[in-house]
C-alpha cells in the first residue's frame, strides 16, 4: 500500500557556511518507496541529508520528516534509521557489540533477537565476533547498515551506503533494499554513481551545485536525454579519412578531429552509427582502436539537466 503524503519535505531550504552556499533554495519531497538522491561529489547531497537527519540546521527554509522537524526532538530517531557517509566506527568493538550498542540506545528489549536479525540481513553472521577494526571497508559498511536497521525503522536515510562495496555486495544490497521497501519502509539513498541506484530507485532527485536540478522518474529524464545528440569518441588509425567517411551519413550531426587525433561524433541515431562505423572502417581498411559513447556518465546527465 502506498502513501501519497510526503515522508520528507524540504521547503525553500538553503544552507550556507560562512560565504559558501552548500544548498541553495531547495524544495523537494520524498515519498514512500525507494528514492535515489544523485549528484556528483560536492553537489550538496550530504548537506541535504544532514538537514533531513537533524544533524544540521537549515540556514533558511523548513525541513519536515515524518511530519515533524528532525531537530529538537530526539524521539523522532525511534522511527528513522540514518547511516551517515562517514565510515569511521569504534574499531575496538566487535561487529556484534557495535550493533548491540545501537540496539541499547534505541531502547530495544530484548535486544538479542533484533541484533541477530539485523546482522543476518546484512549477511555478516560469521564475522560478527570480529573487531570492526579488522573489517574490510565493505564489511564495515554492512555492519553500519545492520546498526541502522536494528530498530526496524519506518524510514531509512542512507548516505553513500555503497561506498567500498564490491559488485556482489552491491547486488545483495539492492535485494535487501527491495525487500525492505516491500515491507513498506521508505528509503532515501544517495550516491554519486548513477549505476548504483539507477535500477534500484523508483524516483530520483538530482542535485548539482547545491540545487535540485531534476526530480522524478529517471527513465523519463534519460529518454529526454536521448532526444539530444549523443557524443561518441572514436580512435582509429586514419582519423581524417574516417571523419570524412562518417560526415556523409545522415546519422551524424557533426564530426570533428581532436588535437590528440581522436574523432568526436555528435549523433541522434546512435543505432545507425553503431553499424556505420565498423562498415566504414572495413571498407577503407582503417584499424579501429576505440569506440566509446561519452554520455553515459552521471556528470553528463547532470550537465544536460542543468543546461536544458
Amino acid at each position: 500500500m502506498t502513501n501519497s503524503n510526503p515522508i520528507i519535505s524540504l521547503d525553500e531550504v538553503s544552507k550556507w557556511y560562512g560565504n559558501v552556499v552548500a544548498v541553495n533554495d531547495v524544495s523537494l519531497e520524498v515519498f514512500q518507496g525507494i528514492t535515489g538522491l544523485l549528484g556528483p561529489n560536492g553537489a550538496g547531497k550530504t548537506t541535504v541529508m544532514h538537514m533531513m537527519a537533524g544533524l544540521a540546521a537549515p540556514s533558511s527554509g523548513t525541513v519536515e520528516v515524518l511530519g515533524q522537524s528532525p531537530r529538537g526532538d530526539h524521539t523522532i530517531y525511534s522511527k528513522i534509521g540514518i547511516m551517515s557517509e562517514h565510515e569511521a566506527v569504534y574499531g575496538f568493538y566487535t561487529g556484534r557489540s557495535f550493533v548491540e550498542l545501537a540496539a541499547k540506545l534505541y531502547g530495544i528489549d530484548p535486544i538479542e533477537p533484533a541484533v541477530d536479525k539485523a546482522i543476518e540481513r546484512v549477511g555478516l553472521v560469521a564475522a560478527q565476533g570480529r573487531k570492526l577494526g579488522t573489517y574490510s571497508r565493505g564489511m564495515r559498511q554492512r555492519m553500519r547498515l545492520a546498526a541502522t536497521l536494528v530498530n526496524d525503522p519506518e524510514l531509512l536515510i542512507l548516505d553513500e551506503p555503497l561506498n567500498g562495496t564490491d559488485p556482489r555486495q552491491r547486488l545483495e544490497f539492492h535485494d535487501l533494499m527491495r525487500s525492505l521497501a516491500a515491507e513498506g519502509k521508505s528509503i532515501l539513498i544517495s550516491s554519486h554513481i548513477l549505476e548504483e541506484v539507477e535500477t534500484l530507485a523508483d524516483r530520483h532527485l538530482l542535485m548539482v551545485s547545491g540545487k535540485l536540478a531534476a526530480a522524478g522518474d529517471f527513465r523519463a529524464i534519460r529518454e529526454e536525454l536521448d532526444q539530444q545528440p549523443h557524443r561518441i569518441l572514436i580512435e582509429c588509425a586514419e582519423p581524417r579519412a574516417m571523419a570524412s567517411a562518417l560526415v556523409q551519413s545522415e546519422a551524424v550531426d557533426s564530426v570533428s578531429v581532436e588535437e590528440d587525433g581522436s574523432i568526436m561524433v555528435l549523433s541522434r541515431k546512435v543505432s545507425v552509427l553503431q553499424r556505420l562505423v565498423p562498415k566504414a572502417a572495413a571498407e577503407r581498411a582503417i584499424r579501429l582502436m576505440r569506440v566509446e559513447p561519452l554520455d553515459e556518465s552521471l556528470e553528463s546527465v547532470f550537465s544536460y539537466v542543468v543546461e536544458r
Binding site: H74, A88, L101, A102, Y106
Partner: protein, 238 residues
C-alpha cells in the same frame, strides 16, 4: 546511560591516557617519598603546599583536560558522534556519562595520590585525607564539566584549556582574590580548608568561604553541564 558510559570509559581508558594520568598523579607521591626516605626535615606545610602548587594548580587540570576534552572531541574528530546523537536518547543521557567517565578515571587516581601524599609526609589524620579526597574530586568534577564542554565547542580545546588554566586559574587568581570565587582551584582549596581547617590552615588566606565554594562548584558543574547539553542540541554534527 550505561552503554555510553561503558563506551566512554573504553575510549578514555586507553593506554597512553591512563599512563599519563598515573605518571602525573604519581609525581607528588614520588617527591614526598624521596623527601621522607632522605630523612630531611619536613616543614609543617609541606603537604598543603605540594597539593596547592603542584596537584591543584597543575596536575589536576592537566589530567582532567586531557581526558575531558577528548570525551566529545574524539567523537567529533573521528566523525562517530552521529552514532550517539541519531538515537532516541535525551541529550543529557549523552552528556552525563561523557562527564562521568573523566571523573571515574581521574577522580580516584588523583584522590589516592593526594591522600598518599599526606600519609607519607605524616601530617595526616583521617579528616585531612577526607578533605584531600573531597577537594580533588570536586576539582575533577568541575574541570570535567568545563573541558567536556570545551571539547564540543572547538577541535582545539586542549591548547585553549591550557591557556585558561595558566592565565585564569594560575596567574589572575593569584593577583585578584575575587577570582577565587570563580576558580576551580579556589573551590578545591576551600573544600579542603572547610573540611579540615586545622590540617589545611595554610589555606586560611587563600580559601574562600566553604558555602561559597559549594555553591560556586555546583554552579560550575551544573552550568557547564547545561551548556554542553545546549551545545549538543544546537550544533551541526559533522
Amino acid at each position: 546511560m550505561g552503554p555510553i558510559l561503558a563506551l566512554s570509559l573504553r575510549q578514555l581508558g586507553g593506554r597512553w591516557r591512563l599512563s599519563i594520568t598515573i605518571l602525573l598523579a604519581a609525581l607528588p607521591v614520588v617527591i614526598a617519598s624521596i623527601v621522607r626516605l632522605a630523612g630531611a626535615d619536613i616543614e609543617d606545610h609541606f603537604a598543603p603546599d605540594i597539593l596547592d602548587r603542584m596537584v591543584i594548580t597543575a596536575i589536576l587540570p592537566i589530567v582532567t583536560m586531557t581526558l575531558a576534552t577528548a570525551s566529545f572531541g574524539n567523537e567529533m574528530e573521528d566523525k562517530t558522534l552521529s552514532y550517539l546523537v541519531l538515537r532516541p536518547v535525551p541529550r543529557y543521557h549523552l552528556v552525563l556519562p561523557k562527564m562521568l567517565a573523566t571523573v571515574i578515571i581521574a577522580g580516584p587516581i588523583l584522590a589516592i595520590s593526594g591522600i598518599a601524599l599526606v600519609l607519607i609526609v605524616g601530617e595526616s589524620g583521617a579528616q585531612m585525607a577526607v578533605a584531600v579526597g573531597i577537594g580533588l574530586f570536586v576539582g575533577v568534577a568541575a574541570y570535567s564539566a568545563i573541558f567536556t564542554w570545551a571539547g564540543l565547542i572547538t577541535p582545539h580545546a586542549l591548547p585553549y584549556a591550557l591557556v585558561y588554566v595558566f592565565l585564569w586559574e594560575g596567574i589572575v587568581g593569584g593577583f585578584l582574590p575575587a577570582v577565587r570565587y570563580l576558580s576551580v582551584r579556589g573551590h578545591s582549596l576551600a573544600m579542603m580548608y572547610g573540611v579540615d581547617g586545622t590540617g589545611f590552615d595554610r589555606y586560611e588566606d587563600l580559601a574562600i568561604e566553604f558555602p561559597a565554594a559549594i555553591i560556586g562548584a555546583t554552579i560550575v558543574i551544573v552550568g557547564f553541564f547545561w551548556l554542553t547539553i545546549r551545545r549538543l542540541r544546537n550544533m551541526d554534527v559533522p
